[in-house]
């Protein structure tokens, strides 16, 4: 039931991005839109309805790799500090070998290790991006920026599903289905937060009151 709702919630950010295309243009959110489309198309629910014969491990591993690539690219392009931008590159050097080794060796179960590594890396990137945003004097109210909401969406999603991904391989089918609810719930939350980001206006109000305009 929640899985179905999670599937439909994936349409929300796609829809809002297209409806408010003007607001989202030039904000570096194209990659997130692409991620939303890809995430929706690879949903279990969607694939089973279309009767597509894609092996589970290919879909899971492929999704994890592409998800990591897209989010890393978003974080990399959002970071401004020259040194900080090296961190996603180093993260990629850690992630891809793990993901590829797992893809070639563990073809019978959920890609627990790459998904967990991905979650840890993305959580770190989100903290990094938030740190940079609060230190940026041009950003007065951090929650008035679209990127803040995107970061929060991923931050919440990956921190709440980290333990689920970590233990997914050790769970029985019944347990897995039971606990997958966590993933579905936070996926819905992630999609709502992404939708907020796509709906909100470009950060024009992100300024001091007129009489207190800082000299920056």
């Amino acid at each position: 039931m929640l899985g179905e709702k999670a599937f439909y919630s994936e349409i929300l950010p796609i829809l809002f991005y297209l409806v408010f295309l003007k607001r989202n243009r030039g904000e570096g959110l194209g990659v997130i839109f692409f991620y939303c489309c890809f995430s929706w198309l690879t949903e279990n629910f969607f694939i089973s309805r279309l009767n597509l014969q894609i092996p589970g491990y290919v879909r899971d591993s492929g999704f994890t790799i592409l998800e990591f690539t897209l989010i890393s690219f978003f974080i990399y392009s959002s970071l401004r500090g020259r040194i900080l931008r090296f961190i996603p590159l180093i993260g990629a050097l850690i992630f891809y070998p793990i993901a590829i080794i797992n893809f070639t060796k563990e073809q019978d179960s959920f890609d627990s290790i790459p998904a967990s590594v991905e979650a840890i890396l993305i959580i770190s990137y989100c903290i990094l991006l938030l740190y940079e945003q609060i230190n940026d004097p041009k950003i007065i109210f951090v929650y008035n920026t679209k990127k803040f909401w995107v970061t929060i969406a991923f931050f919440l999603y990956f921190s709440s599903t980290l333990f689920l991904f970590l233990y997914a391989r050790n769970l029985t089918r019944a347990e897995f289905d039971k606990y997958w609810t966590i993933n579905n719930f936070f996926e819905i939350l992630k999609n709502i937060l992404l939708s907020i980001s796509f709906i909100m206006k470009k950060s024009s109000k992100n300024a001091y009151p007129e009489d207190l305009e800082p000299d920056i």
Binding site: V117, I134, V142, F155, L156, F163, Y167, N170, Y179, L212
Partner: protein
């Protein structure tokens, strides 16, 4: 991570998963809330600083307006009290009755009127010089300061000397005037309040910086006194100095000499801010 996967089993997995997820969620939400509140705190602090700076600017502006008004009143008083009566007296000498008087009295009256008009011219020249010293306009800051110090020394009340070490190129005229006014204000303060027996001014440059230092052996103020006076409603002259230096993006430092005998005032300016248009090219 791998270790956790190996050692976990059955209900332990469920417990770890449950508490792990809750813990991570709590951490994340806590971090987000912290970021938002911290940022609000920082913004409030920045706004307070901004407000304080605005208040300070308002104070400086008020001081400069008051000073301008005082200067106008002084000029008005000079013209009214000195030039006015002189011209009125000259008019008396040159009244309509003059044609009816004998030749000698006529000549005497004309001579007296001429004397009074000469005095008035001198008086107006003095007023004009106090507004814009001709030495400063024609020969620059170095000559004007030397002139000022010679006058002080000449009065016999104080030994004043100045030395410009590196002033080959003149600064922009309006900047020279600002610096001269600051020096004038500082010297006035020293004359009025310090009971010093000497003032010594030196000018030099170092890299991009232009320095003017004043030493005196009287009662002076330190930087903390200056900051205190600047924030209070008294110390109009000091506020005037501050607002003038602000135009040049300059700074002023008040300190006691290393030997604790002399007071030192240092005016620090950036050369590029003051150079003439030809220098900018």
């Amino acid at each position: 991570m791998i270790l956790l996967q190996i050692t976990s089993s059955g209900s332990t997995v469920s417990t770890v998963l449950f508490f792990g997820t809750i813990g991570m969620l709590a951490l994340t939400i806590g971090l987000i809330v912290f970021i938002i509140f911290h940022q609000r705190k920082v913004i409030r602090y920045q706004m307070r600083l901004q407000r304080m700076e605005q208040d300070q600017q308002k104070l400086l502006l008020n001081a400069s307006i008051r000073l301008q008004e005082e200067e106008r009143q002084r000029i008005a008083a000079d013209l009214h009290d000195d030039a006015g009566p002189l011209l009125a007296t000259a008019r008396l000498y040159l009244n309509e009755n003059l044609v009816n008087l004998d030749k000698t009295t006529q000549l005497q009256s004309i001579y007296n009127a001429k004397q009074i008009i000469d005095d008035t011219i001198q008086l107006i020249r003095n007023i004009s010089h106090s507004l814009m010293p001709p030495t400063l306009k024609n020969f620059g800051l170095e000559s004007a300061v030397n002139d000022l110090f010679q006058k002080i020394s000449g009065s016999g009340s104080m030994n004043a000397s100045s030395r410009f070490h590196d002033y080959r190129e003149r600064l922009q005229a309006e900047n020279e005037l600002i610096i001269f006014r600051v020096i004038q204000e500082l010297v006035n303060n020293i004359l009025k309040h310090s009971s010093a027996s000497f003032i010594h001014l030196t000018q030099n440059t170092s890299g991009n910086k232009f320095f003017i230092r004043l030493h005196h052996d009287g009662r002076g103020i330190t930087q903390s006194d200056f900051n205190k006076l600047n924030k209070s409603n008294v110390g109009l002259g000091l506020k005037n100095i501050q607002s003038r230096l602000k135009v040049l993006h300059g700074q002023i430092f008040f300190e006691k000499d290393m030997s604790q005998t002399y007071y030192k005032v240092t005016i620090e300016l950036v050369k590029e801010e003051m150079a003439g248009p030809e220098a900018a090219l």
